[in-house]
């Protein structure tokens, strides 16, 4: 049974529809991504799941022994900071005291690699996000909801956060991850719901969505020889040429087939391009992610 099931969630603010009709289910132990452009309704959706907002209609159900949302779901929201002079250790100690069965905050501190004596104002963006993750985990939750964790971070800090999120899953915590970074989805998520204008456009594994978007490979090389013969290969779906540059798309073991079909020495500068989740997102929504 799913640990979180959302059925036909809708949230409106007056005339404005923030979430139109969203349904999805999160299985225990997975990293479930909610992806979409800014303003797609991602944050409102997870705020409804976390019990911070009341849906206008629709139902959020919990299973697998999740009975107390505030106790058992750890949440990290965007734009939530702490008092400047609060120190890391004090913040964790304080937030641990809010829960009936908290985690050992000192070992969490080691996990996120922060010094307990540092004041919040002295933390870098990446360190603040790591502290936020620790605060979301300090109650020993079954589910962690992480909203746009890596926005505004440099690439190294982003990779550190990704490692940490993978660790959370190893600890047995289900993760609901909100993001608009396609690379983050590809690297971390087991399954993902693509949301646009308050509706779910597609829900699958990142690989599944990529396959749906074409799942094609594309290889590009330079050749002066005629390449029309390539069209006959079963792996090839299209061949086009622009001067010396040849673009071949297809499926299966495309590279081996193309290389084998051309006389040796007739092919230079070969590179392959794979459909990314970015392309899949573009194909689904008709817009680039950001």
């Amino acid at each position: 049974m799913a640990i979180i099931s959302v059925h036909n969630l809708r949230k409106t603010y007056g005339e404005k529809v923030a979430v139109d009709d969203v349904s999805f289910a999160v299985e225990e132990g997975e990293i479930f991504g909610i992806v979409g452009r800014n303003g797609a309704g991602k944050t409102t959706t997870v705020e409804c799941v976390a019990g911070l907002r009341t849906p206008s209609s629709g139902v959020v159900e919990f299973g697998a022994g999740l009975t107390d949302v505030k106790e058992q779901i750890g949440v990290q929201l965007q734009d939530c900071s702490l008092p400047d002079k609060l120190r890391v250790g004090e913040a964790l100690d304080l937030y641990a005291s809010f829960y009936s069965r908290p985690a050992d905050w000192r070992s969490l501190l080691g996990e996120v690699g922060l010094d307990p004596g540092t004041a919040f104002s002295a933390l870098s963006g990446g360190q603040r996000q790591r502290l936020s993750i620790a605060l979301a985990l300090v109650g020993n939750p079954r589910v962690a909801i992480l909203d746009e964790l890596t926005t505004g971070l440099d690439p190294q800090a982003r990779r550190d956060i990704w490692k940490l999120i993978s660790r959370i899953r190893e600890m047995g915590v289900t993760v609901l991850l909100v993001t608009h970074f396609m690379e983050e989805v590809e690297r971390l998520c087991d399954r993902v719901a693509v949301i646009s204008s308050g509706r779910v456009l597609a829900m699958d594994s990142p690989e599944g969505l990529i396959a749906r978007a074409g799942g094609r490979q594309r290889i590009v090389f330079r050749s002066t020889a005629p390449v029309d013969a390539l069209r006959a290969l079963p792996e090839v779906t299209s061949v086009s040429r622009d001067g010396d540059e040849v673009v071949v798309t297809g499926t299966g073991d495309l590279v081996a087939a193309v290389v084998g079909a051309l006389p040796s020495g007739q092919l230079a500068g070969l590179r392959t391009e794979r459909t990314t989740f970015d392309d899949a997102f573009l194909a689904l929504t008709g817009h680039a992610a950001e």
Binding site: K70, P83, L94, F98
Partner: protein, 249 residues
């Protein structure tokens, strides 16, 4: 519930003590002003016919310093902290935990109340030891009006925190409200010396009423009922407005 609140209050107390400006203006400045002005200004320690034969250091100066401390706490320190917590999402983050953000409000008010009492005690004790400021003659009544006045002032501060959209506005508005209120409370011109029209206006302000009942009880008189009613009215109106208008995010 209790141990949780205790840790929250303890943590918030540490944070208050880490703000040197707040500690200075609320605790140090009123006591220091009493001692320095009381010791240095000629005539402050002599019977003053314009104050009905009282010395300035008997009730006017210490009463105003107590008022200064509580007004600074209520209109500057408390609302700035709360609005900053709302602006920075501290309250929103807390709302994701089993603790309601109301707990933070309660902790802040509790700390402000304790600081108000300590600052008052420090000001009057030092005044007594150094300048011979008399101990309030009606101590129980003094404590009572201190509580009522503090409740009225804190309610106004919470109202301010409820309506101010951000920290810049709350600090600006706090200052704009604070100085006229301190003036009408008799900070720079004792109420005894105010022209009668001005004194009537002062009677209806929370600081005018508060300052007067503080001085009344320090001098050993019963606090005037109209002034107590004015304070209760402000506490009620501002308290209800604050409760209705307060936003967590």
């Amino acid at each position: 519930m209790m141990p949780i609140q205790k840790k929250l209050i303890l943590t918030e107390t540490k944070l208050f003590l880490r703000e040197p400006a707040a500690v200075f203006f609320v605790v140090v400045l009123p006591a220091a002003l009493l001692l320095v002005l009381g010791a240095s200004i000629p005539g402050f320690r002599d019977a003053d016919p314009s104050l009905g034969g009282e010395r300035v250091i008997d009730t006017q100066l210490p009463g105003m310093m107590v008022l200064l401390s509580i007004v600074t706490l209520a209109l500057s320190s408390l609302p700035s902290t709360l609005v900053a917590y709302r602006e920075k999402g501290v309250l929103r983050r807390m709302s994701t935990t089993p603790i309601r953000p109301t707990a933070l409000l309660v902790a802040q008010i509790a700390i402000s109340a304790v600081v108000a009492v300590l600052s008052t005690a420090l000001t009057l004790t030092l005044g007594h030891l150094v300048l011979g400021v008399p101990v309030p003659r009606q101590l129980a009544a003094f404590a009572g009006v201190l509580v009522l006045g503090a409740v009225a002032m804190f309610s106004i501060g919470l109202w301010l925190a409820a309506v101010a959209p951000n920290t810049r506005v709350v600090q600006g508005a706090g200052a704009v409200v604070m100085f006229p209120l301190l003036f009408l409370g008799g900070m720079w011109l004792p109420r005894d010396l105010m022209p009668s029209a001005l004194r009537v206006v002062s009677d209806f302000t929370p600081t005018g009423a508060f300052g007067q009942v503080l001085r009344d009880t320090m001098a050993g008189h019963a606090p005037g009922l109209p002034h107590l009613a004015v304070l209760a009215g402000w506490a009620l109106i501002a308290g209800i407005a604050a409760a209705r208008m307060f936003r967590w995010e």
